[in-house]
């Protein structure tokens, strides 16, 4: 069944963009552009912008373009043409109103999902160009309100959700206590120096999704693992500062994260089901710090679940009966190549796995990623109406359950299937593993 197209909103008011623009001067813009183009970006940026021949081969890669009856403004190359091309051509001599529009385009009309780069004959990385636009807008003080607030939270607390230090520990202890109803000696070991690995999560887990911490405790205890979580800042692996262009705070977040692991003397970090956090910790934040690779090996939940199942540390009691499909998160699939491991895990856990098409590295983005969902309520409708193709892709599978091993995708997909009326429920792998696994020691 073909889902309807929904017209997307064009004149969205965002207080962060409005107030930031009111305070911005042309002098400041010129200074910022000079700093970023002159000092922070190399030949790569200019080459990308100059090389584009507007052939349009990348257009059909973008879910936003495809979801809006091919609105030419939303092709990947148009997003560059409307932002960076002008900034470069005018050598930074652009107006505050231009920066406001550029910020909206870069922050809410591109997920930095890197699908389009796969179809460009010149390998032009639109996501990179959009990141530089965001960096310029950040330095101009013009960033959407809600994601800016999240970046502030990172700066103060080193977590995404203003979770206070006592709230974090209290939540873990509360989940640990609850978990003992299932496994009487279940633990979430805090600050256990020399454990095999540190488990890190993103801010929304303690804030809204504490059951994931509970389920993880059950999984790790059932598998008999020697693990720990830090009681101190550094426990959050996520990074919205990466998406606002605040590289300094991104680097600071990653420093806290890896130093937590160093302090606990663990051999690796296992992270929960989050896509962008993996990108921040594996690619972006570590490199800003000058760690060419993660200084402590970083393993995504998909890989870790794969190992738990492959090694028999977690055994399946009875496979999950409902039909499931999988949304391949860009950051762990295009970014890390975990697609086959994800399929192994799902086939081990579930009886009836239905592929959506296209899939693996060709999967369409959820439209939540790249910080777009974090731009908050003002942009929610636009986010949904510019991703009809994703809803269609899901609906076409006919599956009852949509597995999304990424927090942002998870929330974004819930919005999309909800608004398009696709009859599906969204789950993490963690939810299903917890449900179907054998739980030794269970009373």
């Amino acid at each position: 069944m073909a889902l309807p197209y929904i017209e997307y909103e064009k004149n969205i008011i965002d207080q962060g963009l409005e107030t930031g623009t009111e305070r911005l001067t042309k002098e400041r813009i010129a200074k910022v552009v000079d700093k970023v183009i002159g000092g922070e970006t190399g030949a790569r940026l200019k080459a990308y912008v100059d090389t584009c021949v507007h052939c349009g081969l990348c257009s059909d890669a973008c879910h936003m373009y495809l979801s809006t009856k091919r609105d030419p403004k939303l092709t990947p190359s148009a997003k560059v043409k409307r932002t960076m091309s002008v900034i470069l051509a005018k050598k930074g001599n652009v107006s505050p109103a231009f920066i406001k529009k550029a910020s909206e385009i870069a922050s809410t009309e591109c997920n930095l999902c890197k699908r389009c780069v796969q179809y460009c004959p010149f390998g032009i990385d639109i996501a990179y160009v959009m990141s530089v636009v965001r960096r310029i807008c950040h330095l101009c003080g013009v960033t959407p309100l809600y994601i800016q607030d999240t970046a502030h939270s990172h700066s103060v607390t080193q977590n995404q959700m203003w979770v206070k230090e006592d709230e974090w520990i209290d939540t873990l202890q509360w989940q640990e206590e609850d978990s003992r109803e299932e496994i009487p000696d279940c633990r979430i070991p805090l600050d256990k120096e020399g454990a095999d690995f540190m488990y890190s999560v993103i801010g929304p887990e303690p804030k809204f999704l504490a059951q994931l911490l509970y389920q993880t405790a059950i999984i790790f205890n059932a598998a008999g693992l020697n693990w720990t979580m830090p009681s101190f800042p550094g426990w959050d692996n996520s990074d919205m500062a990466m998406f606002t262009g605040d590289s300094e705070i991104m680097g600071r977040n990653k420093r806290f994260h890896y130093e937590a692991a160093q302090r606990l003397k663990v051999k690796k970090i296992v992270m929960g089901e989050c896509g962008h956090a993996f990108r921040a910790a594996y690619d972006m934040g570590n490199r800003w710090v000058s760690w060419a690779m993660p200084p402590v090996p970083m393993v995504h939940a998909i890989e870790f679940y794969y190992d738990l199942l492959k090694s028999g540390k977690i055994k399946v009691k009875e496979k999950y009966k409902k039909s499931v499909t999988l949304h391949d998160p860009c950051n762990t699939i295009r970014g890390r190549g975990l697609h086959e491991k994800a399929r192994y895990v799902i086939n081990e856990l579930c009886e009836n796995f239905i592929e959506m098409h296209p899939n693996r590295e060709h999967n369409y983005c959820c439209n939540a990623g790249g910080g777009v969902i974090n731009c908050g309520p003002p942009f929610k409708k636009k986010r949904v109406s510019t991703n009809r193709i994703k809803a269609q892709q899901c609906a076409d599978t006919g599956a009852e359950i949509l597995i999304t091993p990424c927090h942002n995708c998870h929330s974004g997909m819930e919005d999309i299937i909800g608004d398009y009326g696709v009859d599906m429920h969204v789950k993490f792998i963690n939810d299903i593993m917890y449900e179907v696994m054998e739980k030794p020691g269970l009373e």
């Binding site: 607030d149 700066s155 070991p189 600071r252 000058s290 402590v296 908050g376």
Partner: protein, 421 residues
């Protein structure tokens, strides 16, 4: 510093406690901690459903009521045993079985002064935050608190605090500055957008911190007064132990370096600089640096070692006379000790902070190899591979090492001559 002179450096081996027996007495025994002198070992134990106690050398504390929750069990440098405990949602630190009188809604981040005489925690009561030292909370409390520190003598405590209330997503109000530092509860009279990691000077009379004026301009603040220069980024400052000058890593256009009292200290530029330290004896200044992208080492007085590590460098320490520096270097997930630019010819799965002998001629460290723990001195392994060991301690004359280890569930305290390694 802990005085080790009156410890038992003669008894070759003591079986202090058999942890296997503890396991028979309790539902479960959590990870153990040992006293600095190695004479005691303790763990949080579960005695019944949601009932906990602390067991030390096989004997449970005599407490009126079992704890409903207990965590953060640690020995202070002077050998006292502390746990953070709760019953009926009332939290208290308990020291050698005796609880503080003050009750909190939550406590965390246990800290000690160098001699262990001061015990500090971060606390929350009625959603207001403050620090508490030796059972005395600050008079003032705040709606938000991070980056807690305690001075070396324990007389001063400080943290980054929020002094202006912020509603949801009030980003522009935030950018006007809602945070400052509070010392013993008293805030500086100037606010900043962010106030991060701080340091006290040697006698605790001054406090320096890294701050952000707005979203882009970083600098160092000393006792509430910011340096004039703003930098692209800064990291935690420290005080020179002899001159009281403030030294901090700063990011300039051409890279990272160290600044001292707002003047550039080193001519050299690096792709990263942090965890600088000053030797009180030699007055040398050393820091962990990335000499170029992805190449980590130590720089002393601005000059980097030739050796570099691809993964990271951590846990740097000066020798007592300040002539040498040792650190942990990691390459391809293999850890080793690097002593004054020379890496040990030993690759480990994990290494703990290196420890210099009192004369500075030897370096010892706890290591993890093939799933076993042991101690190494100058790159040579102890002949025992244990289930667990604690970090080595040299005797005052440097001839012996205190080795604290668990083997087959039994905790031993041993004194091993250094020449046996």
């Amino acid at each position: 510093m802990t005085d080790t002179a009156n410890w038992d450096w003669e008894t070759k081996e003591k079986l202090v406690s058999d942890l296997n027996e503890w396991k028979d007495s309790y539902n479960w025994v959590e990870e153990p901690y040992v006293s600095p002198d190695g004479e005691k070992i303790a763990a949080i134990v579960n005695t019944d459903e949601a009932e906990f106690n602390v067991c030390e050398n096989g004997k449970a504390w005599e407490i009126e009521e079992p704890f409903e929750k207990a965590y953060s069990l640690r020995y202070s440098p002077d050998g006292r045993l502390i746990v953070l405990s709760a019953a009926d949602d009332e939290w208290k630190p308990v020291v050698d079985g005796k609880p503080w009188e003050t009750i909190f809604d939550f406590i965390w981040d246990l800290k000690f002064s160098n001699d262990g005489k001061a015990i500090a925690v971060a606390s929350q009561t009625d959603t207001e935050y403050c620090m508490a030292v030796n059972d005395v909370p600050w008079e003032d409390s705040y709606t938000f608190m991070t980056c807690m520190i305690l001075s070396a003598d324990g007389k001063k405590s400080a943290s980054s605090v929020q002094t202006i209330p912020l509603g949801q997503a009030e980003v522009f109000k935030f950018q006007e500055g809602a945070f400052t530092a509070a010392v013993n509860g008293v805030p500086w009279d100037k606010n900043f957008v962010n106030v991060w990691n701080m340091a006290f000077n040697a006698d605790g009379s001054s406090l320096a911190a890294e701050v952000r004026h707005n979203l882009y301009d970083y600098t160092i603040v000393v006792d509430g007064k910011p340096w004039n220069t703003v930098y692209g980024c800064v990291w935690q400052p420290i005080f020179h132990p002899n001159t009281n000058a403030v030294i901090a890593p700063v990011k300039l256009k051409d890279g990272w370096t160290l600044a001292c009292d707002d003047n550039i200290l080193w001519d050299s530029r690096f792709t990263q600089v942090w965890q600088q330290m000053v030797s009180k004896e030699s007055e040398k200044i050393a820091a962990i640096v990335a000499s170029s992208y992805g190449k980590w080492t130590i720089a002393v007085d601005g000059k980097p070692w030739n050796i570099t590590f691809g993964d990271m460098v951590t846990d740097a320490v000066f020798s007592p006379d300040g002539s040498r520096v040792a650190c942990i270097g990691t390459d391809k997930e293999q850890y080793t000790i690097c002593d004054n630019g020379n890496a040990w010819d030993m690759k480990c799965d994990m290494v703990w902070k290196p420890v210099f002998s009192p004369d500075g001629n030897k370096v010892a460290a706890k290591i993890d190899k093939n799933g076993k723990r042991t101690i190494a001195v100058d790159g040579r392994l102890w002949n025992k591979m244990c289930d667990e060991v604690w970090e080595p301690v040299f005797s005052p004359d440097g001839s012996k090492i205190l080795c604290r280890s668990v083997e087959d569930g039994k905790y031993y305290r041993r004194i091993i001559p250094v020449n046996e390694f």
